[in-house]
Symmetry: C2
Subunit: 372 residues, 2 copies
């Protein structure tokens, strides 16, 4: 490993683009998951928004996307500047450790000192300038040999996210705001969440981290040696003529484990993790209620509309998502969610937005896979 | 006029099939009004249900349908046994007096002693045997020179219907239940409606009446002489080579007036109207809430479904009408109304079912006639 390059020159963006987003059915499907949709009305998809945020940081030629083989064409079309060599395809979903460590292992072979930054393809960030500054700071800290997360300063005691407990400010020259991470904590109860927010020490875990790829792999080697060695076999085969065969044999045997458990938490316990507190607006748009909130910008009695559609709304609020362009008339519905797609229609309310996942589960059970 | 025929031999059914049913948009349209739809799940349309109730009474060759020219083909297709000579076409909607008196005037020329029974094409009757008995009684009473209405015994103090105030029982040989009509009253306040129902004297006005055509025309001649004479000009021209020209000239000049005002009320004031109290289930299915009520048969928390469609309902009640067959998922919606048609989607609640009419009005104003 050479430390001669400037930290930012070592930086390589990785976008894990996985996860169907069941709670966004029938918009989000196995064939067209969340990240392939425009959920903000920006005119481009969440994946494209993510790409656009990262390209100025790492350069478009230094962005990798890790996604399912089924989405190869969609991702290639949406990210016109993606170098084919930087599109890493998963034969099947194997959770975040497999996705991220595969990218880390492939990239570290190309550049032993590479610093990777992992940013989910399906999050919404509303202040790109602040995001950029946070990433720049995180890259600088990562270059000192840390795994650096970006922690969102909570705006409310949410029970929907995990939290990062921050400790002392790092003792680094020209350190702006980075702190040690004492521990990661799971989604809390509302009481705990209130305590966390009141303490001023806790940040939302947005799943973003920036670290030398070699460091991530070193932690993984200790915590999950078998997975680590299989990932190395896969990375060795990547781009060679044995790739197909090796992936066919090895990939199905990979352990499914979230990177939080395999890398982030064990590394934090060893004092290897830092956090850059961030003040930009961040949303994981996990369900339609979240999209409605985001779209209405806090306005009460607002009806958000995504899609090209004529809407007649009489005393109605909530969100309408239209993929069909059919005229939609809503009368007397508060906090309604209407999702109009060519082969399936969902009507519910913001209160029940989380239950969409159960519905998708029951569609699986009842054999309606044609709409999943 | 000859009274030599038996009353039932003189009977001729008339089905006025008009009215768009705005409160049933987007199912009911100008091009496909309420009576052309299956709103009961019977497998046939309201018009066909009406036809089937009347055919055993008058014979299928003695049923006339009065409808708009736009519905000529649909009506002919749905009523395969309709004799073309018995299909009376209105160039434009001119309210019920024009429709019914045109039928009366044409039929009285064919059979001076004809007794016509007028039954709306878009009502639902749930006990055909009782209906048949009521009509038979009404025909017998009509043959004595009366305009006979069928009054529905109220099951609740509805404010959605007009009422018929009944007086003394008619002094006729073998009279079963027919009474004088003292007056017709408009849709009442809830207080008045309660009084009416408590008194036992008031019946719902279902707009059904049976009378010698000559008697209806005689009343009209007195109350609306100009309209009467124009209707006679039209009836004279009907079926001749001048028909088209005469209708083109005269029809647009007809006064729009409901038969209640031109015939029923004035005749009642003269003691010419009788009522047969009826105990069959009757519904004017004026809006989707009424259809939901009808479909659920009084069951609470029931989701009624009209159409061939897969529905996933999680804690939802109300009504779903599907013309598209798309899968529909409803979560946590009480008393919801969802109407899914190829070019328009309506979502509202039973509470707001009446507001659909306002919405249709605003569609007219905003130039969305393509979905009306």
């Amino acid at each position: 490993m050479t430390d001669s390059r400037e930290p930012l020159a070592r930086f390589f963006s990785v976008i894990p683009a996985g996860g169907v987003g069941s709670r966004l059915w029938p918009l989000s499907r196995a064939s067209a998951p969340k990240f392939l949709h425009d959920l903000t009305g920006s005119g481009q998809t969440l994946l494209q928004d993510t790409w656009e945020r990262l390209a100025p940081l790492s350069g478009a030629d230094r962005i990798a996307v890790v996604t399912g083989v089924a989405h190869k064409n969609a991702v290639s079309e949406q990210c016109a500047d993606l170098i084919p060599n930087n599109l890493f395809l998963e034969p099947s979903p194997k959770d975040s450790t497999a996705a991220i460590s595969l990218a880390a292992a492939i990239l570290v072979k190309r550049e032993p000192d590479v610093i990777i930054g992992s940013f989910a393809a399906d999050h919404v960030i509303t202040d790109n300038a602040v995001f950029t500054e946070c990433v720049l700071e995180a890259v600088a800290v990562a270059a000192t040999g840390k795994i650096v997360t970006i922690g969102i300063e909570p705006t409310e005691p949410s029970v929907g996210f995990g939290y990062i407990k921050s400790g002392e400010k790092l003792d680094l020259p020209s350190n702006k705001s980075a702190r040690e991470v004492t521990e990661f904590v799971e989604k809390p109860s509302i009481e705990k969440a209130r305590e966390y927010v009141a303490s001023g020490k806790y940040l939302w875990n947005a799943g973003m981290f920036i670290a030398p790829a070699a460091l991530i792999l070193a932690v993984l080697e200790e915590t999950e040696p078998e997975l680590y060695s299989k990932i190395n076999v896969l990375a060795d085969a990547w781009g060679t003529e044995t790739q197909e065969k090796v992936f066919e044999d090895v990939w199905p045997t990979l352990k499914k484990i979230a990177v939080d458990y395999s890398v982030a938490e064990p590394a934090a316990a060893k004092g290897l993790v830092a956090v850059v507190p961030a003040k930009f607006g961040w949303h994981d748009v996990g369900d339609f209620a979240a999209i409605a909130e985001l779209q209405s910008g806090g306005k009460r009695n607002h009806l958000a509309v995504l899609g090209e559609v004529t809407v007649l709304s009489d005393k109605s609020s909530g969100i309408l998502v239209s993929e069909t362009g059919r005229l939609v008339a809503l009368i007397g519905l508060e906090d309604v969610i209407v999702v109009d797609t060519p082969d399936a229609l969902l009507v519910t309310t913001k209160e029940h937005a989380q239950r969409v996942k159960n519905l998708v589960d029951s569609l699986k059970v009842t054999g309606h896979s044609e709409v999943l």
